[in-house]
Symmetry: C2
Subunit: 143 residues, 2 copies
């Protein structure tokens, strides 16, 4: 069990409020886990990790918190096929490369100045509000 002081100190890394969302202990802890790990955990994985520090935490609360963070644009929800949703604190517009061999998910940035309309024939008048790009494959060591 952690001391009150340790808990408060780590909590201080995250501000009291972000984007108008009150950062409660639970939300802070969950956000901190996403920031520190950066490995696109599922709600359940976040739950496991967070229980160390918040023993009374419930899975429902993890879902609530993750959803609140997503709604306020503080983190992003990422879906791979029909698997559990994963969560990501990287707010840059980016895609994901899922290494099928290791299971590791790499963030994939857009090249500077690149535009999706360079490669896609969008329908006439299409206004994009959200982009989800998911690649699956493997990382080859061969040169």
């Amino acid at each position: 069990m952690l001391s009150k002081i340790t808990e408060v100190q780590s909590a201080l890394e995250v501000p009291e409020e972000i984007a108008g969302l009150r950062m409660t202990r639970q939300r802070q802890e969950i956000y901190r886990i996403l920031i520190e790990e950066r490995n696109h955990p599922t709600a359940n994985e976040v739950f496991m990790k967070a229980k160390d520090r918040l023993p009374n935490l419930s899975l429902a609360t993890v879902y609530n918190c993750l959803d609140a963070l997503v709604q306020h644009g503080i983190i992003r929800q990422v879906n791979f096929e029909r698997e559990s949703s994963r969560y990501c604190p990287n707010l840059r517009e980016h895609g994901h490369f899922h290494d099928a061999e290791t299971g590791v998910i790499h963030d994939v940035d857009f090249k500077p100045g690149a535009n999706l309309t360079d490669v896609l024939n969008l329908p006439q008048g299409a206004v994009i509000e959200d982009v989800e790009i998911t690649l699956r494959g493997k990382i080859s060591n061969l040169q």
Copy 2:
């Protein structure tokens, strides 16, 4: 409403076997629905449609058939966020634009010669095996 003759003719368009998959009545019917409608139905929507012709059809069979078709590369499974999977007989490599206002899903083709690596910074050595591009937005009529 289609005439019997049209129905039979359209059914005949589907061969006995595709890509090594035995085309049973159920698989034929399900495939035909995907081909004719081309509106990215869910398994349940396919089930509803197919029941007209195959009254004993079960939802489990629809899932089985769709999966068999997907496994044999005859159709593709498409996922939007956490919604039900949808199915698509368009085998060209393509993405999807989801019109949030009408719910319509448009296929989005790649521009000829375009390559994803033109716009994305992939991890070193990444070999792409599968691409899923999903855009969400609206269609504006304004010029």
